[in-house]
């Protein structure tokens, strides 16, 4: 973990209710896709934890959903504005476990960390496939960026306005074989993916957090291997340790 100051480089709408935020600063504490940062916003006591979509030396990209007053206020942050950030939080995904043909399953704002993961997997010479789920066509984002990595994308929309009509599990049914699974999304989706997935995998969870770095025990969950703090021991859990 590192406490540092990032400068807003870009902050714009990406899809309905979804915004993209590019920040310039020290990203050296980020070591794995699926980690998150915790932003301190003026006028709000607790920080806002947001998963890292992608990063390189000197900058990172976040994609966030406007859910409450804090994220609504964040949409007003102009380029040049500075933000106090705790960076490099959480464990992130382990790309070593992927095998040659990993499947990436994401729903809504759970998709961004899978993009950074997909890019690293392709750089390692692996061949990921992505199943991306949205409620409706207007909320679709990032799908084209996966395609630019030559990652095959199966789009699913709940209302059938684009791609497969249905849930990500309907999209998963179209993939005949995969070696490993990486997923992130709402808990109901994770449960369905868990039930539909015949292979091992890593699941990224979300929880209301106090600190984001393991001090307050605010986000603890029960697992097969004991109590785990989503912020510090997670947010990524092994499929085999999950207790629903």
């Amino acid at each position: 973990m590192l406490q540092t100051v990032f400068t807003v480089a870009e902050n714009r709408p990406l899809a309905e209710g979804i915004h993209l935020l590019r920040l310039a600063g020290d990203t050296s504490a980020i070591t794995a896709p699926g980690q998150f940062v915790n932003l301190r916003l003026d006028g709000f006591f607790l920080r806002r934890p947001i998963s890292v979509c992608d990063w390189e030396e000197g900058g990172l990209t976040l994609i966030y959903k406007v859910l409450g007053k804090g994220t609504a206020a964040l949409t007003e942050y102009p380029a040049g504005r500075q933000i106090d950030v705790l960076t490099g939080l959480g464990n992130g995904y382990d790309t070593e476990k992927s095998g040659e043909f990993p499947l990436l399953v994401g729903g809504g704002v759970g998709i961004p960390p899978l993009y950074g993961l997909a890019r690293r997997l392709t750089l390692q010479g692996k061949h990921p496939t992505a199943v991306l789920g949205f409620n409706t066509e207007k909320e679709i984002f990032l799908a084209d960026r996966f395609a630019e990595l030559d990652v095959p994308v199966i789009l699913c929309t709940a209302d059938g306005s684009r791609g497969v009509r249905g849930l990500v599990t309907d999209g998963m049914a179209q993939v005949c074989k995969y070696t490993y699974l990486y997923t992130c999304g709402p808990e109901r989706m994770l449960r369905a993916v868990y039930a539909a997935c015949p292979v091992s995998g890593q699941f990224s969870f979300e929880e209301r957090m106090g600190c984001g770095f393991g001090a307050c025990m605010g986000c603890t969950c029960k697992t097969v291997t004991g109590y785990k703090r989503i912020c510090k021991d997670g947010p990524v859990l092994e499929k085999e340790e999950i207790l629903w």
């Binding site: 406490q3 301190r40 006591f45 929880e207 209301r208 600190c211 001090a215 025990m217 605010g218």
Partner: protein
């Protein structure tokens, strides 16, 4: 040169800054961030006889200038704290630590304190009779002077270490509870624990916290805490440790002026993990600003308005 040292129940502290229980774990997370030996001491996570998971999540909610928590005393239990956490702590912290103890019966409080009494690393026992997030325990002992007295008496009988009773603000008259603890041999009191509160989600119409209610902390509670510290310091002759919404060196000085011999810092650790280090560093300059060379005459040294 100013002297930041204070004495708490006979044990000297380099400075009055103490991270509060429940916001500092058993020290390990923060020891990776800075040298925690620069602190006066810290109060470790509330520990019970048996391991506890605590309440179901969500157990954190935000409010204006503060937060609610309903963690519910998650901890590995006293034996594991003694066998694993204290040896690990000895590697990174070389001062007496404050053990925070909780329980669900008078006997449990006494038993946990008895086991901690044998640990040389522990300087003080902070007995939490004010956790608002557990049923049939915690705060139930801190809202009734007879129950508070019974816990104090039972704990007093098993240890010679200084005991501080951690008091609840969720009472009509906190001085009544403080006096009951003093009468049974408490060496000090610490206050305030969190104020019981609630938030609802307007979309789901449910409480945000799965537990329903939680404890409010953060800068929002500072004036309430300050008032109670002032009341208690004027009602008892044992030391008072002040806490509640402290987030700056000036807040520390204000808390001490109200009568606190030392000051705990809680919720702010969760937002700025370096806040205690930064306050320790800022304290000498803040003291100079108000002409304080040492804390001896500053603690409880408020002046009254004069009639003209």
């Amino acid at each position: 040169m100013v002297n930041t040292g204070v004495t708490l129940c006979g044990i000297p502290l380099d400075n009055p800054i103490i991270p509060a229980s429940g916001t500092f774990g058993y020290g390990q997370e923060f020891a990776k961030l800075y040298d925690i030996n620069l602190l006066g001491t810290f109060s470790f996570k509330g520990t019970t006889l048996h391991p506890r998971y605590g309440n179901p999540t969500p157990r954190i909610a935000e409010s204006a200038s503060g937060m609610l928590n309903s963690v519910g005393l998650q901890n590995p239990g006293v034996d594991k704290v003694i066998s694993e956490e204290l040896p690990a702590l000895a590697k990174v912290f070389h001062k007496p630590v404050m053990a925070n103890v909780s329980g669900f019966s008078v006997e449990e409080y006494a038993e946990v304190c008895r086991r901690f009494d044998a640990c040389d690393q522990i300087g003080w026992l902070e007995v939490n009779i004010s956790c608002p997030n557990v049923h049939d325990g915690g705060m139930a002992f801190g809202t009734d002077p007879h129950a508070a007295a019974a816990v104090t008496r039972a704990v007093r009988a098993v240890t010679k270490k200084p005991i501080l009773l951690k008091l609840s603000p969720n009472v009509t008259d906190i001085t009544e509870i403080a006096r009951a603890c003093e009468a049974e041999g408490a060496d000090g009191v610490s206050l305030i624990n969190t104020l019981m509160g609630m938030r609802f989600d307007l979309r789901s119409r449910r409480p945000i916290l799965r537990n329903g209610t939680g404890g409010l902390s953060g800068p929002a509670v500072f004036p309430v805490a300050l008032r109670m510290v002032w009341q208690v310091a004027n009602a008892v002759s044992i030391p008072v440790v002040g806490m509640g919404g402290v987030s700056s060196a000036d807040d520390v000085l204000e808390m001490m002026l109200a009568g606190a011999s030392a000051v705990e810092i809680g919720a702010s650790n969760l937002v700025n993990p370096y806040i205690c280090r930064d306050i320790v560093a800022a304290l000498p300059a803040a003291m100079e600003r108000y002409g304080i060379s040492s804390f001896e005459s500053w603690i409880g040294g408020t002046k009254a308005w004069q009639e003209t």
